[in-house]
Amino acid sequence: MTNKKIKKIALYLFILILGLIMIYPVLWMISGSFKSDNEILSGSLNLIPKEFKDGNYSAGWAGFAGISFFTFFKNSFIVSSISTIATVLSSTCIAYALSRIEFKGRKFWFAVMLVTMMIPAQVILIPQFLIYNKLNLVGTYIPLVLPHFFGQAFFIYQIMQFMVSIPKELDESAIIDGCSKYSVFTKIIFPLLKPSIITTIIIQFYWKWDDFMGPLIYLNNPKTYTVSIALKLFADAGSSTSYGSMFAMSTISLIPVFLIFLFFNKYLVQGISTSGLKD
């Protein structure tokens, strides 16, 4: 064997072993959802359970306080879907204004947008909470979804990057044909933004799906809990919940994210890399 071949095999082995280590915790969680508590607590490394315990999922799904995980999933879907749709509509409009329309203050608002990207959420969290509290909105979904109607800098920026690649001549010829700038957006720009919109949908949906701090602060009635907060409480219940069913519910909670990843992998990778590139 040549030196080069050995090197190549070593490279493959390294990549493969690293991949296994990376994915092991996830596989361990899935296998844990089929194990008995005794087996989990004894710290077994096995991915294949000694004996299949199939009751974990049904036991976990029953949830707590008489509320099943169906409710929590439904809540998460409502919050994540509304937020995602709102983000797409608002961020595309804002990106259109900032990258296509010559209006007074355009540069100013663009700079403001870049700055807001760097403001840590914690700084505005407390006053926001106090405002919502004063308006009696704590306990509703409004604090969780409302901010998304005002666009989100990260996505506006990413959509603007994409918009650069749409030729300006398209807008101009449409305007010559009698289109207003409003219909240029709805008839030409918005449809052409499809790849960028899909990226936004994916990323925003799973950010929102995973969001923990928002629901932790704003939701106070178990009936309104999202999956993330429900999981935490489910785990806290300790003695009354088994580790097996906790792993089972953890596994289920990741399914929507995994599905999105499987179907839109291409767009996701594209989106992540374009938001970082081009300066």
Partner: protein, 295 residues
């Protein structure tokens, strides 16, 4: 009249403001006004349900005498300074490996990305908690290798390790950004270097790294900001303990505000956080002039 209105609505100035309106409203409503309020609260003793009174700089002077606050700064910095460089070095290293001529690059890239995809979720935090527990996976592995099981969450010196590892484990998104950057480097550069007798290591340090420097800067800033704000992992896995050893800044703010109802004090803490993060970001930008190659 109608015609006049139509023409007015189609002026660039009007169209631009109409489309940018959500952002402009949002900026005032959910950013600027809350920030101003937060600054005001930081000079008060505001507690929910109590009347507000102005106490000047009291919160800020109290901060510097607050050992728990000083400790929060310290542990947050330790976390940022260990997790961010490790994550970036790892992400870059793996991105580089995957751009080598090998089969299945897409598959492996997706595989390595999975932790970043799900890493922010509560499920993964709960799993991580179990993996490092007394009888968890890591301790079983340690004893199989002939070592002693460790008390990861009970020992102040060890507790940072599971949290840093969890962050490094999520190197996938940094990796994808690096990989995209590496792909953009023209092949001819490497060929020229090879002709001049440079080996792989030399071309990595003299071509790949400088060409990637703007992307390294972007990743560095983004990862630093998000590491400073780490909350969920600490809240779920260690709850700040033991003995405040992982009581990160964000967690301390949260507890002051929502557990102890010290809204005024918590606002002051978050302003100091904003200032510290601003300085750190500025320092990174300033230093970047000496190490980021201008295209």
């Amino acid at each position: 009249m109608k015609e006049k209105f139509r023409r007015f609505m189609n002026e660039d100035n009007v169209v631009g403001h109409v489309f940018a309106l959500p952002f402009i409203i949002g900026f005032f409503l959910i950013t600027l006004i809350p920030m101003a309020l937060s600054l005001y609260y930081s000079f008060t003793d505001y507690r929910l349900g109590n009347p507000i009174s102005w106490i000047g700089f009291d919160n800020y002077t109290k901060l510097f005498a607050d050992d728990r606050f000083m400790n929060a700064i310290k542990v947050t910095f330790i976390y940022v300074l260990t997790s961010v460089p490790l994550k970036l070095v790892f992400g870059l290293f793996v991105a580089y490996l995957l751009t080598r001529n090998i089969k299945g690059t897409t598959f492996f890239r997706s595989l390595y990305y999975v932790p970043s995809l799900i890493g922010g979720s509560i499920s993964v935090a709960l799993v991580w908690k179990e993996i490092f527990s007394k009888t968890g996976l890591i301790n079983v592995l340690l004893s199989k290798l002939g070592g002693e099981p460790l008390s990861w969450y009970g020992d102040q010196k060890l507790v940072m390790i599971p949290l840093v590892l969890m962050s490094v484990w999520q190197f996938g998104s940094a990796m994808i950004i690096f990989a995209a950057g590496i792909k953009e480097i023209p092949k001819s550069y490497y060929e020229a270097a090879e002709m001049d007798g440079a080996n792989k290591l030399q071309s990595f340090f003299h071509i790949t790294l400088p060409m990637l420097s703007p992307i390294i800067l972007y990743n560095l800033i983004m990862q630093t900001i998000s590491a400073f704000m780490t909350f969920t992992q600490a809240y779920i896995i260690t709850n700040g303990g033991p003995n405040d050893a992982t009581n990160f800044y964000a967690l301390y703010v949260y507890n002051q505000a929502f557990k102890f109802n010290s809204m005024g004090y918590a606002s002051a803490i978050s302003w100091v956080m904003l200032i510290i993060m601003g300085i750190v970001t500025l320092l990174i930008f300033k230093s970047s002039k000496s190490w980021v190659a201008v295209k």
